[in-house]
């Protein structure tokens, strides 16, 4: 059983510089061919200052920093039992090449279903840019299958 003491735990901040080659790699990996996601000129024509991070890209912040898997280790959830249950994004402003996004997360809830056969960890996050402006809010539900 996951220790409920972790409810309210704040993860260390994760800093994600939005880089051109990384976004181009991400576009390739998801099969995105819209030039807005690979070409700065196309992005500017579409009204962005540079290539925008696609809708789900900011999830990378806590993977790159190690904060996501450090939390799973701290909660003592074996990787083999871990599933991603839900993911939400609310968007406030784009993050584009040249921006630096900082993600700060809190474990907002931990609960069980099916008599403890399934446990759920809810993590809520705020992503801000280098001007301290809110870029997005994220909510993740992780599932541990016992």
């Amino acid at each position: 059983m996951i220790d409920r003491k972790w409810i309210g735990h704040e993860l260390p901040a994760s800093v994600l510089p939005i880089e051109r080659s990384r976004l181009q790699f991400f576009a390739k990996a998801i099969g995105e061919t819209d030039p807005v996601y690979t070409d700065a000129a196309a992005a500017r024509d579409a009204g962005y200052p540079d290539i925008p991070a696609p809708p789900t890209f900011l999830f990378a912040a806590e993977l790159d920093s190690g904060a996501a898997f450090a939390l799973i280790d701290a909660l003592q959830i074996p990787i083999a039992k871990l599933l991603h249950g839900e993911q939400s994004f609310s968007y406030h402003r784009p993050a584009c090449v040249g921006d630096t996004v900082t993600v700060r997360s809190t474990v907002s809830d931990i609960y069980a279903k099916k008599n403890g056969a399934l446990e759920f960890v809810v993590k809520t996050s705020r992503a801000t840019n280098q001007h301290d402006a809110l870029v997005a809010e994220l909510r993740s539900v992780l599932v541990c299958r016992h």
Binding site: R22, F25, F26, K28, A29, I30, G31, E32, D34, V36, A46, G47, Y48, P52, P54, P55, T56, F57, F59, A60, L63, D64, F69, I79, A80, L82, L83, H84, G85, E86, Q87, S88, F89, S90, Y91, P94
Partner: protein
């Protein structure tokens, strides 16, 4: 062309995305690009030790594909909210069809918006992800 609020109707389908069958290369590339280096998606030995028959797709890969359905229809700058619920494991060989449908027209925070239901299903009709998006339209 950005869809126009007044001409969009509840029930309108967004153009669906048909993906090639999921293969190991796709999973490896997404592991690197997304930063999700969890070996269960890329290392057969780790997947088998975890009791899985084989490696399987990252949930966020499926969500990224649903994101493509949205941004192919309306510019990303119009996207206000995007939610996904992962209902099943997307296996190697699954050829996903990602689709969306307008289910509501509403005013949200002073903007004309549409609510879109999204889903990702394989070639056998098994639904793997259901989602929802809120998109502001002129």
């Amino acid at each position: 062309m950005t869809p126009i609020f007044d001409t969009v109707q509840v029930g309108d389908e967004l153009p669906a995305l048909h993906l090639s069958p999921v293969d190991r290369t796709t999973l490896a590339l997404f592991a690197g690009a997304s930063g999700d280096h969890n070996p269960i998606h890329i290392d057969l030995d780790v997947a088998r030790r975890a009791g899985m028959p084989d490696v399987f797709a990252q949930g966020m890969l499926g969500m990224a594909w649903l994101g493509r359905v949205i941004t192919a229809w309306a510019p990303q700058s119009a996207l206000r909210r995007f939610d996904a619920r992962f209902q099943g494991i997307t296996q190697l060989g699954n050829a996903m069809r990602c689709s969306g449908r307008v289910v509501e027209k509403l005013d949200h925070d002073g903007e004309h918006c549409v609510r879109i239901e999204l889903q990702s299903a394989n070639q056998f009709g098994q639904i793997k992800i259901v989602g929802e998006a809120l998109v502001a339209l002129p």
